[in-house]
Structures are given as C-alpha cells and as structure tokens.
Symmetry: C2
Subunit: 270 residues, 2 copies
Amino acid sequence: MLGIFDSGIGGLTVVKKFLDWFKRDHLSYQLLYFGDTARTPYGNRGEEIIKQYALEDARLLIERGAKIIVIACNTASAVATEYLKNNLSVPVFEVVSPAAQKAVEITRNNRIGILGTRATINSNIYDRLIKEYSAKLHKKISVFKNNATLLVPLVEEGWLETVETKKIIRKYLLPLKMAQVDTIVLACTHYPFLLKEIEAKLNKRIKLVDPALEVVSVMKKYLKDNPSVEQGLSCSSKHQFLVSDLTDRIENLATRWLGEKIKLDKVDLK
Amino acid sequence: MLGIFDSGIGGLTVVKKFLDWFKRDHLSYQLLYFGDTARTPYGNRGEEIIKQYALEDARLLIERGAKIIVIACNTASAVATEYLKNNLSVPVFEVVSPAAQKAVEITRNNRIGILGTRATINSNIYDRLIKEYSAKLHKKISVFKNNATLLVPLVEEGWLETVETKKIIRKYLLPLKMAQVDTIVLACTHYPFLLKEIEAKLNKRIKLVDPALEVVSVMKKYLKDNPSVEQGLSCSSKHQFLVSDLTDRIENLATRWLGEKIKLDKVDLK
C-alpha cells in the first residue's frame, strides 16, 4: 500500500498523477490518501508545527498499512522531509527534490524561478537542492523566488478565471519575469490549476515544472530498482481516501480536483 | 482574569477594543488571550471541528485562571457558543449576538447585510438572532448574506489598499448593495481593517457594525450588573498573550494589529 498525505485535499492533484500512471501501466497498487483538512493550510505555519503535523500524518498512514510514504504537500516536503526520514522506518518520497532536479535539467539560461508558499520559500530548500544538483552538472544556476500565498485561497474558492485572479498572478510573476528566468517551478499543489492563466502571462519559451509529475517519475524508477518494496504495494482492495475534517465544500473540491467522485472518510487525528 | 480566544491573531482587534475601554475607565482587569495560530483559520471548517477547537481553546484559558470567556472569533461565536455554554461553568460572551442586536436597532429600512466567513454565513445564526431581536421590536427585517472568504488572506498578506483587494471588495459588496441594505455587519475580525476601502464602495448612508465594539458594550453592562464576577477580573499582573504557533510573521501581524509591541508565548495545545 502506497501512502500519500497532504495538508489538505490539494494533494489529490498528486494522487491523480499516480492513478493515471497505475492505469497506463495496468498496475494494481493500492493507494491510501490522508488530507489534513482539519489543520489546513500548512503554508504559513512555523517549521516546528509543520514537522509535528507531517509526522502525525505519516504515522496515521503507516498504522493503516502504508509501506511507502509520499509527501504530496510542497510545504511539508520543504520543511519536514529530513525529520520524517529520521523518524520513520519506511521509504519517504517528496515533491521538492524531483522538481528541483527537473528544473536544473531543463533550464538553458541557468535562471530558475520558484513560486511557492511562505514556508516553502523561507525554507530555502530549493536554493540548496538546485545548488547541489547543478554542481553535479557543472552548471551555475541563479534561483529567484516569490511567495504566492494568495493563489491557494483563490483556487479553493474556484476563482480560476476571474479578472482578480489574473491580476494577482501577474503581480506574483512579475519579479520572476524581471529576473528573466526560463524555468518556473509551480511549488504548491494548487498552482497547476492556474496553469492556463499562468502561461498566458508568460513568454512561451518559459518552461513550467509540475512537481507532481516529477515525483511519479522518481517513484517509477525506485520501484523498478527495488522489486521487494514494489511487491508490497499491490492489493486487491480499493484505494482509500481519509480526511481529518469533512464538509460539503471539501467533498465538492475533491471530486472536482480528482476528476472523479470518491468516498472520503473522516478520521480523528487523536 | 478575562479570557479571550480567537482562531488566530485576528482576535487582537477585539482585544484592542477591550484595552481601550480599560484605559478609558481606569480599570485594572487582567486579560489573557489565546490565538490558535497552529490551526487557523476556522472559517471554512466543519461545525464539529470548530466546536472541538473552540472548547479546547476555552479550556486552555480557564485552566490558566480565566473567570469569563469571550469568543473573539465570529466563526466560533456563530457555530460553538451554545456548545461552550453547555460544557463550561464560566460565563461565555461572543461577538455575534451583540452585533445582530445592534444591526436590528439601527436599521431604518429593515434590510441588513452580513459579510462573513463560509462557516459563519452557513450557520444561519445571524438570520436566527435578527429574527428573534426584531420580533421584540415589532420590526420585520430581511437579511442578505455574502461569504467573503478571500478578505482574510488579503488582510493577512497586508494587501489593504491594493487594486486587487479593492476589486474583490466591490465583488463581495455587490449583492448586498443590489439588495439595498442600509446596515452591514462586518462579521469577521479581519474585515474592520478594510473599513476605509469598504466605505469607499458604499453609499454614505449605509451603516457598518463592528462586532468588537458591541461585545465591549455588552460586557460593560454585564459587569455592572454582576459585581461579584467583576471583582474576580482585577489583578496586578500583566496581560498575557498565548498562541499555538509562533513565527516572525505572526509577531509582526500581532504588533501591527494591536498597535503596540506585545510578548507572545507559544503554548502546546496537547
């Protein structure tokens, strides 16, 4: 069983990429999702609290049988990955390092932009990882970051194509455009919903990186190299989707974001 | 000791109104504040979770000596007041009913608008209370509501006077203006920060109700009528401000919102 958690239901966009892969490759892996909707969002919180929440989320999945953990949340990936690796005995995957690696690979002018939450940006994780990967490729890369906090509530309110959202996107992109980046990482599960609006504000030569796609690639390779882990993921049971708070709004968003109706079960974190 | 809690630090705007009153009337009441910054915001959450959080918040204050509880958060006031009254042995005050009462008193055309979070609006508490109070005054009042979810993150980002915020305010006010209300309740601690921008979009004859001011009036009257409770509030110690998550951003917002530098102490909810 493959466990995926997120600060809320934004992580279902990562789940969707996993399910697309399972379908394409006729895989019977079972997926267990947990969205911490009772404490969402994590993006503005302090490091200590994010680590605590992430560990509780991961443990909830492991107690229910997860053999691998995927942190779907960019904020938790940025802040809590090392902490989870040190405190858990199962393999931990996250969305930040695959995205950083991809950005390093595809940039041609060596100028990369990062759009993320306050906690992701402040963690400096992208700077650190990009420096590490680029050294291996003998590239010298400059990183430009902007905290795009308001995009999460705008997406959650369904204001995807409104004039107001377009104006706010332009404001957030401006410093990255001024810095002449040729690659931008959409470092939050919610941002890919605004892909069309973001692309409309950018020169066509600027490439966008979606961390969800990159973590699927990394997982594929890992399972190929580790058949014993791979064997523990299949199961005849259905995928399960757990949340810590459940409202009509959450159900509607979940259906819209995953593109199919799913059964969400509320669990108590304590 | 007077205990005040909020889903975050927005409640400091209510605290400010209390401190202004203490100063004006030379009162030595001690105030204990708790902001649940590790789980903020409550506005989009389900009723059950809001009730649970509100009870935990209030108990934290009572354990530390609060003799009266004030719910500064409109969402928690709307959803959890009855629940707290049934589960606590100290008097519980909240911001919704004083605001509803004030709106009923001042409306001349009997058309009241409410701007609040999703949970506050969906609770229907304002409709119920306004109906109750207006019956006493033999008024027949119509209530028009709009959920203004995005104003909270806009205020927290400090986007008070931006073009984008002004546009969003206009959008949220439009249905209330169309309904020709003459009174609007700003039913969230964050909205009074946008007072100037909100007033700029409205006819000057429309009156705005700030629940923070109204709960102070109610408390004054209550303490006058209940001298034994009143005597338990004074203390020579300083006011105390507790939060469940503490970051630089929270410290900066707190200072800005309260209008003075305060010491915030982080406490663990568990």
